[in-house]
């Protein structure tokens, strides 16, 4: 058994933030320099009553599905509504899904969509119902200090919903995954869970140089390993859809892998880095533009916090 992506939708947080907002709070910031490195000009920030879960639920309600067909509801996020209960259980109720549904959360960031696809594929193979809802969303802005020049100009809040269906075709997905826990504290929010470290605050902190080195040394090699595992060449891929981290990261990956612009779409200029939602949002935008079509060979790759990465190749 395999799966296919039936449909995707997303919901951006309601408050749009521009240069002017950043400049107002941080008049000394060189925004031209920041944009040259991040590639991000506008972002979306959640209001108090908006959460990753609420954004994902809104996105899911835009999809066309029969709730009785859904056998799994998987929420990928690092900004859940609560430490407990599981946010996916709340989604099951709010989306009116049947009670014989597998609902659970996955605590992963920028690689989370790929892990979610793999796990959803596994769950669907073990249940009778034919479809799964994969919800990927985050609201990192709730963790970010307004004066943090490393995080605030990059991260953006959104929720996405991906409807997955069983396919009778043979498996057409090839995955690879990787983890390097040595980098756990290079992108971290402390003091909001069980472990209290009194010398630190509870904001998001990112060591941009360390995270960049991780991606530079792991992503191109991970992509090449994935291509080799799938027994494909770079030329066989119609689109390389990478996590939309930042311009400096994407530029390095594109250069190292020698991918032409036409096969390396980006949308972070106006959307920012929406963590686990970047790839589904990119797919939805490409589909709306008429560029992404059934039958195309796609390579997806997510990477970041953890450190963690995951990639997959499949026929759309």
């Amino acid at each position: 058994m395999s799966i296919y992506i039936d449909s995707i939708d997303y919901q951006l947080a309601s408050k749009k933030e521009t240069f002017a907002d950043l400049k107002r709070d941080n008049p000394k910031w060189d925004l031209d320099l920041i944009v040259s490195k991040t590639g991000v000009e506008t972002r979306y920030v959640s209001k108090t009553n908006e959460t990753a879960l609420s954004l994902c639920i809104t996105a899911a309600k835009k999809l066309d599905f029969n709730s009785h067909d859904i056998g799994a509801c998987i929420f990928v996020s690092q900004s859940p509504d609560y430490i407990l209960p599981t946010s996916a259980c709340i989604a099951q109720e709010e989306l009116g899904l049947d009670r014989d549904v597998a609902a659970f959360d996955i605590n992963l960031g920028c690689s989370g969509f790929i892990y979610g696809l793999s796990i959803a594929k596994g769950v669907l193979s073990d249940i009778e119902k034919s479809k799964a809802l994969l919800l990927c969303g985050d609201t990192y802005s709730k963790y970010i200090n307004k004066n943090d020049r490393t995080c605030r100009p990059i991260f953006s809040d959104a929720g996405s919903a991906i409807l997955l269906s069983k396919s009778e075709n043979k498996n057409n997905f090839t995955f690879n995954f990787g983890t390097d826990g040595r980098g756990y504290d290079k992108l971290i929010v402390r003091n909001r869970a069980s472990k209290i470290e009194s010398k630190f605050d509870d904001c998001l902190h990112m060591n941009g140089a360390d995270v960049l080195l991780f991606t530079m040394s792991n992503v191109p090699s991970g992509v090449n390993a994935l291509l080799k595992k799938a027994n494909l060449d770079s030329e066989d891929i119609d689109y390389f859809l990478f996590h939309q981290a930042s311009a400096v990261v994407l530029d390095d990956i594109q250069r190292k892998l020698n991918i032409p612009d036409a096969k390396f779409p980006r949308n972070n200029k106006h959307l920012g880095n929406t963590v686990s939602a970047t790839i589904p949002i990119l797919m939805k935008d490409l589909e709306d533009q008429g560029k992404l079509k059934k039958g195309q060979k796609l390579l997806l790759f997510g990477f970041g916090v953890g450190y963690s990465y995951g990639g997959c190749i499949f026929e759309y």
């Binding site: 320099l33 490195k37 020049r149 060591n207 960049l212 080195l213 400096v248």
Partner: protein
């Protein structure tokens, strides 16, 4: 790669107004901030065929001397 070439690489990466020499660092080059450091890392990695990206200690190397010492210790230069 020579030390002078590394200095020139850093000057170009930072688009620095001042000359970069062996004594340059984030403390005395205004353009060498956290964003500028990202430019240095990507330029260095490109110049040494991807061998710099595996050197995690480069993330904290905010002077020309530190960068050269790290690259020399790994026999990259």
């Amino acid at each position: 790669m020579t030390k002078d070439e590394i200095c020139l690489l850093i000057k170009v990466a930072l688009d620095a107004d001042n000359e970069i020499d062996i004594n340059a660092s984030a403390d005395n080059i205004p353009e060498w901030d956290s964003l500028g450091h990202l430019s240095i890392l990507t330029a260095l990695d490109q110049a040494v065929d991807g061998r710099a990206s595996s050197l995690s200690e480069l993330s904290d190397a905010t002077s020309v001397t530190e960068i050269i010492n790290i690259l020399e210790s790994q026999e990259i230069i």
